[in-house]
């Protein structure tokens, strides 16, 4: 149990970092929509259309790290081997 909690904590951190990096390593806050530029051919105007997309930010990383720390902390109080 102790070992399992620590492995889950490590996987949580690694998984969060990989997901964050794969999604563009956004160093701002998490986004749930992103702007897409659209050009009107007749007027030449550049419009903005918002697409719903989840882009994890530093708050996402922080939450994952906090979760891992809590799991690792709980593992300290779990006996090494349960009988």
């Amino acid at each position: 149990m102790k070992r399992a909690l620590r492995i889950i904590a490590a996987l949580l951190v690694v998984g969060a970092i990989v997901f964050w990096a794969a999604a563009g390593a956004n160093r701002g806050w998490t986004k749930t929509r992103v702007p897409q530029k659209v050009v009107d051919e007749v007027t030449g105007l550049e419009g903005i259309q918002w697409q719903n997309r989840f882009v994890p930010g530093v708050d996402f990383l922080g939450a994952a790290f906090l979760g891992a720390v809590i799991l690792a902390g709980v593992s300290i109080f779990v006996p090494a081997k349960s009988k």
Partner: protein
């Protein structure tokens, strides 16, 4: 002689009609019209846009300096990428969209008007109203008159287009939006980039 006078009168009247100012409606069926905004604070940069742009302008191709108009942005249409920031921005501590549902610019006077072909640049003085506070503001604008181009944009309609572009800055403290607070994260200076097209149907 009588026939010639009649023809002259018709030509004169037609000339007056053709030269009359046109009214352009900025309600955009294509959803391109937008007002982008950027706040670049030391700790945080916020980029967003507003799509709920509407209003009218009267424009005379023969006298672009006489243009008058009122452009309104629906406060609730302002969008930023982060949902928590979006909720805060529209909430009662910031823009208070429920109490102040519109942001308005109404032009009063065009100065430094320069026209080249279909394009006019000018400095427009008008009243900018945000969060219930009205201030006189002078902003640079670029007007592009696109004669008979409406059909290319909206196939079942005939008429002209007027494109307005303007980039200017305001200070949120001037409009009583948390003056002097959170300036490390929410810049006092707001860059606004207006890109809109209006239609005048024939």
């Amino acid at each position: 002689m009588k026939t010639k006078l009649t023809i002259l009168a018709i030509v004169t009247v037609a000339g007056v009609v053709i030269a009359a100012p046109q009214t352009f409606d900025f309600k955009d069926p294509k959803g391109i019209n937008n007002a982008g905004f950027k706040l670049d604070a030391p700790l945080e940069s916020i980029n967003g846009s507003a799509s709920g742009v509407y209003g009218t302008a009267t424009f005379d191709p023969e006298n672009p300096g006489a243009t008058k108009g009122k452009i309104t942005v629906a406060t609730a249409s302002l969008i930023v990428p982060n949902p928590v920031q979006n909720r805060h921005m529209l909430g009662d501590k910031w823009l208070n969209a429920a109490t102040f549902p519109t942001i308005i610019f109404e032009s009063k006077e065009f100065k430094n008007v320069q026209t080249t072909g279909d394009t006019t640049t000018a400095d427009v003085t008008g009243t900018f109203t945000l969060k219930g506070v009205s201030k006189e503001l002078t902003v640079p604008v670029k007007l592009t008159y696109l004669k008979d181009k409406l059909a290319e944009r909206v196939p079942d309609q005939k008429g002209d287009l007027l494109v307005i572009r303007s980039r200017f800055t305001i200070k949120r403290s001037d409009f009583n939006i948390n003056p002097g607070q959170f300036e490390d994260k929410v810049s006092d200076t707001i860059e606004i980039n207006l890109s809109i097209a209006g239609a005048s149907q024939k």
